[in-house]
C-alpha cells in the first residue's frame, strides 16, 4: 500500500510538472509566433490599402474635368460628322 501511495505522489508530481512544461513550452511558442508575425506581417493587408487608395485617386480624377473634356470632344466629333 505504501508503495502505491508513493507512486501516486510521484504520478501527481509528474502531472504538475508535465502540464506546466507543456503550457510553458507552447506559451513561449506563442510569444515567438507573435514576434515573427510582427516582423513578417501578412502582405495582403498592404495590398488591400493600396487597392483602396487607387480607386479613390482615379475616380475623382476621371469625373469632373476629364468627363467634360471627353463629352465636348464627342460633341464636336458628332457635329463634324
Amino acid at each position: 500500500m505504501e508503495t502505491i501511495s508513493e507512486q501516486l505522489t510521484d504520478a501527481l508530481g509528474i502531472m504538475i510538472l508535465g502540464m506546466s512544461l507543456v503550457f510553458v513550452f507552447l506559451g513561449i511558442l506563442i510569444l515567438g509566433m507573435k514576434l515573427v508575425a510582427k516582423k513578417y506581417a501578412p502582405v495582403p493587408q498592404e495590398k488591400a490599402t493600396v487597392n483602396a487608395r487607387q480607386p479613390a485617386v482615379t475616380k475623382p480624377a476621371v469625373s469632373p474635368l476629364m468627363a467634360a473634356v471627353i463629352a465636348s470632344a464627342i460633341h464636336q466629333h458628332r457635329q463634324k460628322a
Binding site: 502540464m19 503550457f23 513550452f25 493587408q45
Partner: protein, 376 residues
C-alpha cells in the same frame, strides 16, 4: 493413411487454441469496423488482418524469421515507423490556421491534461488486484489520451513494449470513435448560446511565417526538450519540406507514397502484437478503460479552457474549439464543425478548429517528450 494423419496434425483445425480463435474474432471485428463502418479503415484494416495472421497456428508469421516478426523489430521496436509517419503528417499539416491565431496553442496544451490525469488513474488502478502497472507502463497508457497514434506507438515502444499491442489498438480505436465520444462531452459542458458563437475570419499568413514556424518549433524543442526531438524533428522536417516549396517531390512522397507504405507495415506489425498470449490479459481491459477515460478528460479540459478563453475574450471564441485540442487530425476538427453546425447552421468552425487541432499534435508530442525525459 499416415500421410493423412500428418496432414491433419498440421492443419489449422487441429491446432487452434480458444485464445487464437478469440483473437481472430477480434481481428474480424476490426475488419468489420474498417470496411462496414468506415472507422479509420487505413489503420484498422491492416491491424485487423495482422491480428488474424498473427494467430494462425503453425503459420509462423510472428516467429523469428517471419514477415511480421521483422516488420515489428525493424519498424516498431526501433521507433522508426511512427517517426516516418510523423514526417508524413508534418508534410500533410497546414499550420496556417494556427499561425493566424497563436492563442489556440493554449487549447492544444489544455487538452493534454487527459494524458497526465490518466497517468494518475493507471497508478491508481494498481489498487485493484490483478493490475501491476509500473510508472513506465502508466505513462505509455496515459499517452492514449493524446489521441495521436504515432506518438502513442513511439512512447509505448520506448517505455512499455509489452503493452504496445493493446495501447496501439486502444489509441487507434478511440481515434476512430472520436465522432461518438466527443459530442456528448462537448454538449454537456457548453450552453446552446456558446455553441452558436461565430468567429472572426482568420487573417492571411505569409509564406515566410509558415517557413519560420517549423524551424522555431524545432529550435524550442532543442533548447528545452531534447527528448521530444525525434518526434518533433521529423514532424518539422516534413512540414518544412511542404512549406519551403523547393522540394515538392520529397514533400509529395512523404505525404503520399512513403506514409502509405509505412502505414501498411505499421498496421500489420501492430496487429501482430494482438496474439492471444499477449493480448488476452486483464491489463488489456484496464488499458481500454483508461484510454477512454484519458480521451474523455482531454476533451473536457480542452472545452473548459476554451470556455475560459471565451469569457476572457468577451465571447469571441467558440468553446467547442477546445475539443479539437486533442490531436486526432482532422477528425476532431470535423466533429467540432459538425456540433457547431447543429447549433447554428451558418456557423462553419472547421478552419478555426484546425488551429487547436494541429496545436494538439504539438502538445501531445511535447507531453510525450516530458514523459520520456522523466521516465525514459
Amino acid at each position: 493413411m499416415e500421410g493423412l494423419i500428418a496432414f491433419w496434425s498440421e492443419s489449422g483445425i487441429a491446432n487452434f487454441t480458444p485464445g487464437q480463435l478469440l483473437m481472430m474474432g477480434v481481428g474480424c471485428l476490426l475488419l468489420f469496423l474498417a470496411i462496414a463502418k468506415g472507422f479509420e479503415p487505413l489503420l484498422l484494416l491492416p491491424i485487423g488482418f495482422g491480428a488474424i495472421l498473427a494467430n494462425i497456428p503453425n503459420g509462423g508469421f510472428t516467429d523469428e524469421g517471419g514477415l511480421l516478426y521483422f516488420a515489428y523489430h525493424v519498424g516498431i521496436e526501433t521507433g522508426i515507423f511512427p517517426l516516418l509517419i510523423f514526417m508524413g503528417v508534418g508534410a500533410l499539416t497546414d499550420f496556417g490556421a494556427l499561425i493566424a491565431n497563436p492563442k489556440m496553442l493554449l487549447l492544444g496544451a489544455a487538452a493534454q491534461f487527459g494524458i497526465f490525469a490518466t497517468l494518475l488513474g493507471a497508478i491508481g488502478l494498481n489498487l485493484v488486484p490483478g493490475f501491476e502497472f509500473s510508472m513506465q507502463d502508466a505513462a505509455a497508457i496515459a499517452i492514449i489520451g493524446g489521441a495521436d497514434g504515432p506518438t502513442a506507438i513511439f512512447l509505448a515502444s520506448k517505455l512499455a513494449p509489452d503493452l504496445l499491442g493493446a495501447i496501439a489498438v486502444a489509441a487507434y480505436s478511440y481515434m476512430a470513435l472520436v465522432p461518438l465520444i466527443q459530442p456528448p462531452i462537448m454538449r454537456l459542458l457548453t450552453t446552446e448560446s456558446e455553441r452558436k458563437i461565430k468567429m472572426e475570419q482568420l487573417r492571411e499568413v505569409s509564406k515566410k511565417e509558415k517557413i519560420i514556424f517549423p524551424l522555431m518549433v524545432l529550435g524550442l524543442t532543442i533548447l528545452f526538450l531534447p527528448a521530444a526531438t525525434p518526434l518533433v524533428g521529423m514532424f518539422c522536417l516534413g512540414n518544412l519540406m511542404r512549406e519551403s516549396g523547393v522540394v515538392d517531390r520529397l514533400s509529395n512522397t512523404a505525404q503520399n507514397e512513403l506514409i502509405n507504405i509505412v502505414t501498411i507495415f505499421l498496421g500489420l506489425a501492430v496487429g501482430s502484437k494482438l496474439s492471444a498470449d499477449q493480448f488476452l490479459q486483464i491489463e488489456t481491459l484496464g488499458i481500454l478503460v483508461l484510454g477512454a477515460v484519458a480521451f474523455g478528460i482531454g476533451t473536457a479540459t480542452g472545452v473548459l479552457m476554451a470556455k475560459l478563453m471565451s469569457k476572457l475574450s468577451g465571447g469571441k471564441i467558440n468553446p467547442l474549439l477546445g475539443a479539437a485540442g486533442v490531436s486526432a487530425v482532422p477528425m476532431a476538427a470535423r466533429v467540432v464543425n459538425k456540433v457547431g453546425l447543429e447549433a447554428n447552421n451558418q456557423n462553419f468552425l472547421l478552419m478555426h478548429a484546425m488551429g487547436p487541432n494541429v496545436a494538439g499534435v504539438l502538445g501531445s508530442a511535447v507531453a510525450a517528450g516530458v514523459l520520456l525525459a522523466v521516465l525514459g
